[in-house]
Subunit: 286 residues, 2 copies
């Protein structure tokens, strides 16, 4: 199946939205690519870089001719944006997103959209610590996984087209229940970020007295990179995937408390076992 | 001041020990470099790679002609090794180490050594996630920090020589009280590692049901790399720097519990503030 959209509108032309636009241009998957966002200077940058063809600061104007609308904004703002755009969408325009939380969003957006407007929830597991259209690049999704979360209501043809879009970007597509997605992502992505934020702030508080940051090598530097994502994006993720995140934080607290106890009691055997276990989990990944 | 040691003996010819040997060869700081370790095949590899000139599996034989002995083994084994080598050391042979914990070690080794044998405690803050002599390289210490922890008893001439050695390796030398070293390293290095171990094991336990590791992207992958260090080395560090590590884990637990509470109560303002704070700490580092 080959796909072609006469007009694609990207809501939020940043790292992810910009990189998808680059794929669509490279592979001729779209005619015009229109951008929408809050910052005119960012959108103008997108045009200058050749990532999008034009932009509008008026949502109606941006989506009225779109055959596909891609939502690439913080998950906390998506539902409001969808509400505003609905009256202006073409029949059969496909709506899709790249948000890191799916359950709440998919439910809410499906509930809002009329049945002539198909929606496909998506989440490309790709990114860098950088943001903004100037950080976007063609191969961001190459060899990455992209999770799509169809429901009983999902239009099958629209789903196929979104699958093709991600294949064109070089991603492997995985279909998954939105609830499973949120539980799994809470563990492999949201928890590491929350932990990194907590750790960086712990050391930051200590730094006030001792200026110790200049001594930090590998390990801690990696944590600061993980904890460098956009604060609004991460706040929204934490709020919209709250229950799963709270649950996995609690499990992590148990693991950490156990390690702490082994250190306190100088339990040499258990400590070595715990550290070896983590070593073997890494080996499963590489 | 230019330094030259007729014979250097390296106890533990791995990533760190091997990289120092490479510096000494490159800069002609030593005559013969002798290796000592438990694994003959590793030591043979060191000779084959040209990192050391020869080796012995007999500690007496390894140190008897040494002008400098460098301890580059897990911190938990250093004191025992020093005890065994003492009767065989030359007068004025300098002993130094690269251990990640200093307070206990420096006290203990100074107590053991006769005053004709100077000791200088050291800790190069450098490394990779790889280990073994085959991972060693000449520029490992370039532009890194190396902390030396002299005490009131430290021989000034020996200290100067060890400073020169690290300068030759390209490191910036920082002199610090051993107790300060241990408190700071607990925060910027030991805590991140303990946290990474606890996190990787949390996800590992979850993986048993869901094979989710294949979906893990950036954040979690970084944690597995941090948690991939040698389990004996990390166990020893945890035990020898126990009090500082317990203390900083407790502080981190407070930070994490606070974030968890903000998520639970959907405190949007505080969450954003916490995430912004971490962002700004990163900016202090780059």
């Amino acid at each position: 199946m080959s796909i072609y959209f006469k007009q694609m509108t990207i809501i939020g032309v940043g790292l992810i939205g910009g990189s998808i636009a680059r794929v669509c241009k490279e592979k001729n998957l779209t005619g015009k690519i229109m951008g929408f966002g809050r910052s005119e200077s960012d959108l103008r940058k997108g045009v200058e870089l050749g990532v999008i063809d034009s932009y509008s600061l008026d949502l109606k104007d941006a989506v009225i001719d779109a055959d596909i609308v891609l939502l690439a904004i913080p998950v906390g703002t998506m539902v409001d944006i969808v509400k505003i755009m609905i009256p202006h969408l073409k029949n059969r325009a496909i709506i899709t997103d790249v948000g890191s939380v799916k359950g709440y969003l998919v439910d809410k957006i499906e509930e809002l959209l009329p049945k002539e407007i198909p929606f496909v929830g998506g989440h490309p597991i790709a990114g860098t610590e950088r943001s903004g259209v100037e950080s976007s690049f063609l191969t961001l999704f190459k060899d990455s996984n992209c999770i799509l979360t169809p429901t009983g209501k999902t239009d099958r043809e629209a789903l196929k087209k979104i699958e093709e879009l991600w294949h064109a970007a070089g991603a492997k597509v995985i279909l998954m229940n939105a609830m499973d997605h949120d539980r799994i992502l809470a563990a492999i992505s949201h928890l590491p970020h929350v932990v990194a934020y907590a750790l960086v702030n712990t050391i930051g508080d200590m730094n006030k007295e001792n200026n110790i940051l200049s001594l930090a090598a590998g390990g801690f530097r990696d944590f600061t990179r993980i904890a460098s994502g956009d604060s609004v994006m991460w706040r929204d993720i934490c709020l919209l995937n709250k229950d799963n995140i709270i649950e996995i934080i609690t499990q992590f607290q148990g693991s950490l408390e156990r390690l702490k106890r082994y250190i306190k009691k100088e339990n040499r055997t258990r400590l070595k076992e715990e550290f070896n276990k983590a070593n073997s989990i890494r080996k499963l990944m590489v």
